[in-house]
Amino acid sequence: MDNDTILSVQDLAVSFRTYSGKVQAVRGVSFDLKKGETLAIVGESGSGKSVTTKAIMGLLAKNATIESGKILFDDHDLVKYKEKDFCKLRGKDISLVFQDPLSALNPIMKIGKQITETLVLREGLSRREAKKKAIELMEMVGIPDPETRYNEYPFQFSGGMRQRIVIAIALASNARILICDEPTTALDVTIQAKILDQIKQIKRDRQLSVIFITHDLGVVANMADRICIMYAGRIVEVGTADEIFYHPAHPYTWALLSSVPDLETKERLMAIPGTPPNMVAPPEGDAFAERNKYALAIDFEQAPPYFRLSDTHYAATWLLHPKAPKVEMPDVLKARIARMRQKAGLDNE
């Protein structure tokens, strides 16, 4: 782990015991989180992105086991952590913002108390100090009139305001890593943009490292420095935001990008045919092969290794093998990338 890296996940595999068998939710995920960067993990439901973050926080359900791998943070391996150790880590070093702010707050506890709880219980602040800090936090996340709001209950807050409170709780103890698990999915679009701006600004002010989980590539575009694309418990492509958006290499990334509408989209939106594989018995080769019209014969037999495209850009698809037939990305996507480049003023490149 070099000095720039604050969190390193190495070959993490998580499975769940269920009645229908062992579900292999995460199958060998590796990524590094650099200090001060925003790393987005993108994938559809069930791709293992939330499970990965829960493994980092030690919040996996009781029927989950970490099969292999390491999660290195400050030279400690979080995989070996006990519940007691996690209690000291959660909120203090690594914080989590949840998907659904409507149910994440305790409905019958005052907002202020929910923010100050850990400050008083763990950090030993007096009630008055904690209250002062909570009001500062509420101000920071953009709650108007925080002194009054401090004594109100969650049902008196709108969805967006509640998510701001959840963010304030996450930031209460000066965490260094903020994990946002689809923080805006439950909110409407205008509020979404505001919350994202807020997270961006706080990240800058506090020099946080952020892991941003989402299934929405549109959200990621303005947030992320680097992007991991996850599918069926694996990272299929990783690269800087520019690399993923302008030079996508994996057919799954192509499909994802094609399914996001932009203002000029005239043709029918592309849907990805089929459903994700059953993770009780994941396919032998490339998990995406079943739904991939570019799939090669070998995709059904052997999982592809990561092929290097640049120092920061890797993709796991046999299409990048030197002996593979040359396959271009779909035309729809090419046109769309051209439009995006134009808008970003990159046309001369």
Binding site: M57, L59, E83, K84, C87, K88, L89, R90, G91, K92, S95, L96, F98, D100, S103, A104, L105, N106, P107, I108, M109, E117, T118, L121, R122, Y153, F155, Q156, V166, I169, A170, A172, S173
Partner: protein, 316 residues
């Protein structure tokens, strides 16, 4: 909130008046008169007594006399059969405290055990501990209290001689309490099981909720998150179960009081019906109705205290 409580109390008074009317009518319409039971009474005597108690008048007039006495003089009539010529109110005055004491202590003694078993079962969901608690709950709920009463009397009271067989009204302090332990135990099994069962279900639901995940994610220990979040939130619906449970304990006490010879309301009610002591029956019915209505009122008010959403009149 005050307005809300006043509304509830007004509704409660109206309900009581209706119950009083129905109770009076139903009891009075039962066939047979108290004087039928005594073959030695002459016709003239019966006539005289019927006239004295207005039994010879039309029902509606009797109702008028009765309501006037009750509402304006707190006069519930006179017992005719059970303790002849003693005012009903005086009979109740001695009996009510005994019943309330027995039942309240039983309920409050049951609560900590019920809560404890519920918490233990919920935290150890689907383990041996949980299954043992479930077994206990099934046994406690499905077997009626008088079976336990008889069993307790036989083993604890008769075989092992640890505690007195029956309630001792003459004793004082510790000795009287000792004689109350067996009836209390018999009455406690059901509430213990009910509280444990409901709390287990509520707590499991709350433990799996999103806000518990947030509570953990912000760094609370398991114990802190349970005590400060899950348990408190589980207590909101529990109020709705625990307080009306008092009425249930009271009804169980109808039988238990007879078994342990407790001079309370339970035995009195059964005896008064059997002996056609109408005035007494109506008054006892009113006592039980009043208790039920009060428990419901307390539930409504306590909801507002525990749950800010109810207090502030907001839905959702």
């Amino acid at each position: 909130m005050v307005r809300y409580i006043l509304q509830r109390i007004l509704a409660m008074i109206l309900t009581l008046l209706i119950i009083l009317t129905v109770a009076f009518m139903v009891v009075r319409l039962m066939p047979g008169s108290v004087f039928d039971l005594d073959p030695e009474l002459s016709d003239t005597a019966i006539k005289a007594m019927n006239a004295k108690y207005h039994f010879d008048q039309p029902m509606i007039k009797q109702y008028g006399y009765f309501m006037a006495d009750v509402l304006f003089h707190n006069d519930w009539g006179t017992s005719i059969a059970m303790r002849p010529n003693v005012a009903v109110w005086d009979i109740l005055k001695d009996r009510i405290p005994v019943t309330l004491k027995l039942n309240l202590i039983s309920l409050f003694a049951a609560l900590p055990f019920g809560l404890f078993f519920g918490i233990v079962a919920a935290i150890n969901k689907n383990t041996l501990v949980d299954h043992l608690v479930s077994l206990m709950v099934v046994l406690f709920i499905s077997i009626p209290s008088f079976i336990y009463a008889a069993g307790l009397q036989y083993f604890v009271g008769y075989k092992w001689k640890w505690l007195p067989l029956i309630y001792d009204p003459a004793a004082h302090g510790w000795a009287q309490f000792r004689s109350m332990i067996l009836p209390m135990l018999a009455l406690s099994f059901d509430p213990i099981a009910r509280v444990a069962r409901y709390l287990r279900a509520e707590l499991i639901e709350n433990i799996n909720s999103d806000y518990m995940l947030l509570a953990k994610a912000k760094g609370l220990t398991f114990r802190q998150s349970i005590m400060r979040h899950a348990l408190r939130n589980s207590m909101v619906p529990m109020m709705n179960i625990i307080i009306p449970m008092f009425a249930e304990v009271l009804s169980g006490s109808l039988v238990i009081e007879s078994i342990f010879a407790v001079a309370g309301m339970g035995g009195l009610m059964v005896d008064s019906i059997n002996s056609s002591d109408h005035m007494l029956t109506v008054a006892i019915l009113m006592f039980y109705s009043l208790i039920s209505l009060i428990t419901i009122l307390i539930v409504d008010i306590s909801y507002g205290i525990v749950d800010p959403r109810v207090r502030m009149g907001v839905k959702g």
